[in-house]
Symmetry: C2
Subunit: 297 residues, 2 copies
């Protein structure tokens, strides 16, 4: 391992990690080292560019905290999240498609009963969301844990508003005996991903916009079924064909129907126009671990 040059470094680095008994770790790290080195040789990465890369990661680390996750954003805008989601969620036809997790999930969101208003004060036009959770064979799934999270009508999630003391636009529900679920919230709108940090600067330099089309996030977990992490996108909206994080799947696009003031699905007499969204989810039988642990912050 003396007198390594730009070519022999790769075999030296692979040899150095040859001693681990963890064969999966070795497989992953060997591929990572080979591709990292091939990238650096292919573009003849300069020392100044290397330093810029270190600086980028350092700034991403600095801006990341329990409310902001710049590394997930980076993975999202580079298409890595979309790729991993796709290759890890090949499901039979008929199952609801998965899409990217995103950086705004918060574990242990407030629990609500079906019919409650999860907006909890977040601004936006009222919207009533309802549907059924079923298994691939059509069976209704009772007691599925439904995590839902979304932005307000300014495009901000609650975690992006430091002045907020309580969760807004996010919550957990359980499906009923017949698999039905339903809640009140607000209409989803397009929003830019946080672009005041290094990832935003990268997008700008690449000539890319930071916008995402309007959507609701869902994570649905039930014993015996694969956990489903997905969005429902609003049809007819902007950015559906240029989502900054490559998350749109046509099967996940649905209509938000507009209604004039009057009787809402939950019996409320609405004094303003409101929307309804009906969306059913179909889960695959579990073939892997029930719980996907989200990354720590």
């Amino acid at each position: 391992m003396i007198d390594i040059d730009e070519w022999t470094i790769t075999s030296a680095a692979l040899k150095a990690q040859g001693g681990t008994a963890n064969t999966r770790l070795k497989t992953v790290m060997d591929s990572l080292v080979r591709h990292l080195h091939e990238f650096a040789r292919e573009v003849q990465l300069t020392e100044a560019e290397w330093a810029h890369g270190i600086d980028f990661l350092t700034r991403a680390g600095k801006i990341t905290d329990d409310k902001r996750q710049e590394f997930i954003l980076l993975s999202d805008v580079l298409g890595l999240s979309s790729l991993v989601t796709a290759q890890c969620n090949r499901r039979p036809t008929g199952c609801t498609e998965a899409t990217v997790f995103g950086p705004f999930y918060v574990a242990n969101a407030p629990k609500y009963d079906n019919g409650d208003d999860i907006a909890n004060g977040a601004s936006g036009e009222p919207c009533f969301v309802a549907g059924t959770i079923r298994g691939i064979d059509g069976e209704p799934i009772a007691n599925a844990e439904i995590d839902v999270w979304q932005s307000d009508d300014e495009g901000n999630y609650d975690v992006q508003r430091p002045e907020l003391a309580q969760a807004q636009g996010r919550g957990r529900l359980s499906s009923l005996e017949d698999g039905r679920y339903g809640f009140r919230s607000i209409v989803a709108v397009p929003y830019p991903i946080p672009h005041d940090g290094p990832v935003g600067q990268l997008l700008e330099k690449l000539g890319r916009h930071p916008w995402r089309p309007a959507h609701l996030h869902f994570m649905i977990r039930a014993p015996g079924y694969e956990t489903l992490i997905t969005h429902v996108f609003r049809s007819g909206g902007t950015y559906l064909d240029s989502d900054a994080v490559f998350g749109v799947r046509s099967s996940l696009i649905a209509d938000w129907k507009r209604h004039e003031a009057g009787l809402a699905p939950d019996g409320t007499c609405m004094e303003e126009p409101f929307y309804t969204l009906d969306y059913d989810f179909v889960l695959n039988k579990a073939a892997k671990d029930y719980t996907l642990l989200p990354p720590s912050r």
Copy 2:
């Protein structure tokens, strides 16, 4: 860009960044995206492994501050730093070889006169270092700025000791009219790179040790010459053939000569044994920018 799958995501991501006018950025980012995606497909990266990667980067970001640089450590142990250094410093025979920069450089180190003791209180056996800075044609280089930095005899750099108020074991000198330089310091010893963070955990899981052979760091800058960033390694020491950061080059290995108590090269009467190191540096004529800016922290 709707209905992307694990294969079409790569062309979608490349297309998205097709709009930038910065052709070099596009070249670098296109290669990065291709290799990142190929890596994830090749190993069939799972969502749990992806989450582990996000968590690793997040923890690396958290531990990085103005004294600790985990991202440089990561680049170093994966061999990327050694690769980039090698391909960016191809120099004519006779020039001093470059090696990795490492995470312990600090800009604006204290200025010293030739002959001063840069240890400044750091513990270790005394050592007198001297030599000449020359150009490739043999000409002595006057007023070259010489940055030197090293660990103490416990293997710690000053920035790793939070109780220290002043720089120790680092300083800046200028070469004399005849190109000579010289300073007093302490003997370099092997030390482990900081391994109480995510990079250390990775090394352990990979079955790798974190040790580096004994060395002194130098950065030498002079107008009209390429900046040289290198180490001088101590011959006969341990870890020369298994440096955790792949930095050793045989041309950079030199003898630290031991002397019994008596007259030192600077005329001091030493009451304890001491060492001398003589090392000459040869700089290449500048063909690129004079100043390499180190990454920010």
